[in-house]
């Protein structure tokens, strides 16, 4: 009998360790969390008004997460999203008084430039990406604070007038479609995954690994710059806290979505959508249930740790640091 238990146990743990389960887990998680919230809030979370609120919190994190997705597929990490969003939002706001398209382009270019700084230091000096982006996070957080020291930076009325769900949904879906296409149907996706799975072998297979890594950081920055535009039309003026802690939110979202922290072949594009939705549902549900913010964060932290432990691909890590 005891032996039977052992058998069941090992079957169970083998299943818990299998890729099938790890692939399904985010979807199960999303359904479970949605169901739990639906039940606990007596269905209030599904009211149209609530859903719209929920969606309005999804747009810009999802755009940002799409860029970071490419970086994390490399197995690298980017901690600059929050400060990039802050700096790019300032640029968008200032330029919005001249010309809206110019503001959008300015935001994207600002983000791309910050991404290029990250990529340059990471690739050129072979510094670990998390160290580089911690440094630049600090640097650009400071830049953002410097420009907003005295007062918040307002955006033009013209840009605020653009605030509509249709526009934001449109931009978000367009970003997802373009990124999905690039990831799935061009060699970009293959190259990024190859670098994440085995950089040396990718290099020996003709992938220009340094270029791929640099461009992934640029793309993450550029998309954050685009998200800054969505952010500005929503909030209207930029303070020093713009985008605060966005990087950790994105990291948690993507991990909840099932993205293995090691990157590589096992990433799925759905990680972005599922993860961002799950984070937002969890966030909103906890607010609706009336938990105070500390309790909310405690629950998020525990859920995060459980998900990492369940989804990580330990085979890909030789030495766990």
């Amino acid at each position: 009998m005891a032996r039977n238990d052992d058998m069941n146990q090992s079957k169970l743990s083998a299943f818990l360790d299998s890729d099938t389960f790890k692939g399904l887990l985010p979807f199960i998680g999303l359904v479970v969390i949605l169901g739990a919230m639906y039940y606990l809030t007596d269905g209030r979370i599904m009211q149209p008004k609530r859903l719209r609120l929920l969606l309005s919190q999804v747009y810009y994190p999802m755009i940002v997460a799409t860029g970071v997705f490419f970086v994390m597929t490399l197995g690298s990490i980017d901690f600059t999203e929050g400060s990039t969003l802050g700096v790019a939002s300032i640029v968008v706001s200032v330029l919005s008084f001249y010309n809206i398209p110019l503001a959008i382009i300015g935001g994207i270019l600002t983000g791309a430039a910050i991404g290029a700084v990250n990529g340059f230091f990471h690739v050129k000096f072979r510094l670990q990406s998390f160290i580089v982006t911690i440094c630049t996070m600090y640097l650009f957080r400071g830049v953002c604070a410097y420009f907003t020291t005295e007062t918040a930076i307002p955006a033009s009325a013209a840009i605020k007038a653009l605030d509509s769900d249709n526009l934001k949904i449109g931009i978000t879906i367009a970003v997802l479609i373009v990124a999905f296409f690039l990831f799935k149907f061009t060699r970009i996706g293959n190259d990024v995954k190859a670098v994440g799975s085995g950089e040396t072998a990718a290099k020996f297979s003709g992938v220009r690994t340094d270029k791929v890594k640099f461009l992934a950081f640029v793309a993450a920055g550029a998309l954050t710059g685009l998200a800054a535009f969505v952010n500005v039309i929503k909030v209207g003026s930029i303070t020093s806290t713009a985008g605060n802690q966005l990087e950790t939110q994105i990291l948690i979202s993507l991990v909840l979505g099932g993205l293995p922290i090691t990157g590589g072949a096992k990433v799925r594009f759905s990680n972005i959508v599922v993860g961002t939705l799950m984070y937002t549902v969890l966030n909103n549900g906890l607010v609706m249930l009336g938990f105070e913010s500390a309790t909310q964060q405690l629950i998020k932290g525990v859920v995060f740790l459980i998900f990492v432990a369940l989804t990580i691909d330990r085979k890909a890590l030789k030495v766990i640091k």
Binding site: L127, G142, T200, Q296, L305, V308, V319
Partner: protein, 312 residues
């Protein structure tokens, strides 16, 4: 000549030259409001708080690990210390900070070993949890250290405590196996295992020691600021990086044999640069820019990977 270039003295000379260079630079730019002896002493007092944390982080960073929960534990341990001090005075304050710090460190090390997940990721999750625990512990109110318990808020109390911390670090590195083994694990984990070193055990010890030093840092931090407010929303993240800069100095100068002086002088150099900018009239918000740029410069000079190496 080769012997000299690698001697402890040579490493110390580089650091001293950097201090003199930055001091002279800012003294030249703003002679009137920078760098009087009293100013220097106050820069030094603010820098040693970070140096203590930098010493603790050395044990972890030298093994190639990382910890984002340092800031959250500074806040939590300060709050626990202050609450205990209300009933038990100094013993409650000191033991509360140190005890809470160390216990958290042991928990982190245990979770890291059990979950088998990169330390950087585990500690992000733990940071979230600790921040909320700190809010519960503080009961949502600002915790103030009683005026009669502020021996460590200025000289000589803070200097004495920091000096004790540095002495402890020096003792551990030179007179116990821990320092040797942490360095060995960092140098080559496989070889270290082969030499019979229990790698998991020493990683746990590393986290415990780090957070013991974080406990000391909590005493100094809350004494210096006299109050501590627990906030959620990953607000403690920024507290991780000032100690880290000193640690990077320590790791970079490790080959010269004395990481502690490198950590202490390194933090002092950062304080000089920051205060130099403030003296030049830059707003204090520039602090993060200086911190980020300095950190980036340090790691670019010290932490770059070999050519053709795989760096994530």
């Amino acid at each position: 000549m080769q012997g000299f270039r690698n001697s402890r003295f040579f490493g110390f000379m580089i650091l001293a030259a950097m201090v003199i260079f930055f001091y002279a630079l800012f003294k030249f730019l703003t002679p009137s409001n920078f760098g009087s002896p009293a100013n220097l002493f106050s820069y030094f007092q603010s820098s040693i708080i970070y140096s203590v944390g930098g010493c603790g982080l050395y044990f972890i960073v030298v093994m190639g690990l990382f910890d984002f929960a340092v800031g959250a534990n500074i806040v939590l341990s300060s709050i626990v210390g202050v609450i205990l001090s209300e009933k038990l005075g100094y013993p409650g304050f000191i033991l509360g900070c140190l005890g809470c710090g160390t216990v958290i460190g042991i928990i982190i090390g245990f979770l890291y070993n059990k979950l088998n997940v990169p330390s950087m990721i585990v500690t992000v999750g733990i940071m979230l949890i600790l921040e909320s625990v700190a809010v519960f512990a503080a009961g949502g109110v600002k915790q103030t250290l009683a005026p009669e318990l502020r021996f460590f808020s200025g000289a000589p109390g803070n200097i004495i405590l920091a000096a004790l911390a540095f002495a402890l670090m020096w003792f551990i590195l030179n007179y116990t196996r821990i320092g040797t083994y942490c360095n060995a694990i960092g140098s080559n984990e496989f070889t270290a295992k082969n030499m019979g070193i229990d790698v998991k055990k020493y990683k746990l010890i590393g986290f415990a020691l780090l957070h013991f030093f974080v406990g000391i840092m909590a005493i100094l931090t809350v004494s210096y600021g006299t109050t501590m407010t627990a906030l959620t929303g990953m607000s403690t993240m920024s507290r991780n990086f000032q100690p880290l800069m000193g640690t990077f100095f320590g790791v970079a100068f490790r080959k010269y044999g004395n990481p502690i002086s490198a950590i202490v002088i390194g933090e002092f150099i950062i304080a000089i640069i920051f205060n130099g900018f403030v003296a030049l009239g830059a707003p204090t918000t520039i602090q993060n820019v200086v911190t980020g740029a300095a950190l980036l410069a340090i790691v670019t000079l010290t932490a770059r990977g070999g050519r053709g190496s795989v760096v994530k």
